[in-house]
Subunit: 205 residues, 2 copies
Amino acid sequence: MPSQPEPSPPESRQPDPQRRSERSRRAILDATLDLCAEHGYGPVTVEAIAARAGVSKKTIYRWWPSKGAVVLEALHEAADPVSGFPDTGDLRADLLTQMEALLRGLLGSPRFGRALIGLIADTHHNVELAHGLQTVLFQPRIDDGRARLAKAREAGQISPDADLDLAMELLYGPVYYRLLLHQGDLHGGTELESLVDHALRALAP
Amino acid sequence: MPSQPEPSPPESRQPDPQRRSERSRRAILDATLDLCAEHGYGPVTVEAIAARAGVSKKTIYRWWPSKGAVVLEALHEAADPVSGFPDTGDLRADLLTQMEALLRGLLGSPRFGRALIGLIADTHHNVELAHGLQTVLFQPRIDDGRARLAKAREAGQISPDADLDLAMELLYGPVYYRLLLHQGDLHGGTELESLVDHALRALAP
């Protein structure tokens, strides 16, 4: 953006398009998750998001191709501070920390959970959105989990020939299975501990 | 279709309404899975099902409240001959038999797989359909799996205090995780054997 003006000092009356855009972008992402929490993903429209965020529909379509794409970006930003993998050296504790945060802070929160479930449903009718879900939301976090498990493997805490993809599926498969197939949400606590302990037993050296 | 003539058996001129209904019902269920295989679940309409099955829309709506309800019944019938749990006394072999059949005969088949994925997506916008998916399609089969695992537990093949719900989630969670989150289908063979072996290790006495 070579011709974009620099943030101007208070003396100036020049508007700051960069800053205004960021404010609109945040308002749009916030409005999107709020509306999904209130109504579920299905009934939310780009019109409703625009009205709630105080922007025009045109502004939204200038930045995103569809409602699903807005939801994807909103979820990606919301997940970032919560979904990281700690590394205290204690694999079991670190998995419990990450998965409790995922369950309580994200999947169990109406703002995040309802939007994510609706987005996942939508990806099964929309190849581009499926690609976005996979590459933007899931793959970077799966890679983080694999990296944490790889360190544990090097430290001899899991089997030296542990299959890290299978390890991630044993840990997270049951979480999404329950969420997506209406089998009752996993709430963390002793139920989560039991899942992690079983997965670690399956992967033990 | 009150005025449609039935092919009558040579001796009798009496129509057999029961038989005609069953023939229409089968035609509707077949047309539904065929259309889902060709177009995916999303674009299939009750109109298109009626046209393909040679019945009126009214006939379909007399028996089912929605497209999703037709798909649910079609999947339930298609799953029945394939999804049972054998009991040869060898738990590992029986799990592999059932899961290979599930993967190859159902989830991996376009006729069944595309309809199921679309239906699951639809259940996240439709509470009644979610209830139907759970009670008609999943719960009876989960109960069968639990019963097979309970026998294995009695026989001392898995831990006497094994949690059978968790056991089912360790086995089937990864399958649906990959299917529903676009993580690449599980194709059976050595990959499936590895999953079953890890789950059994987690559940070992």
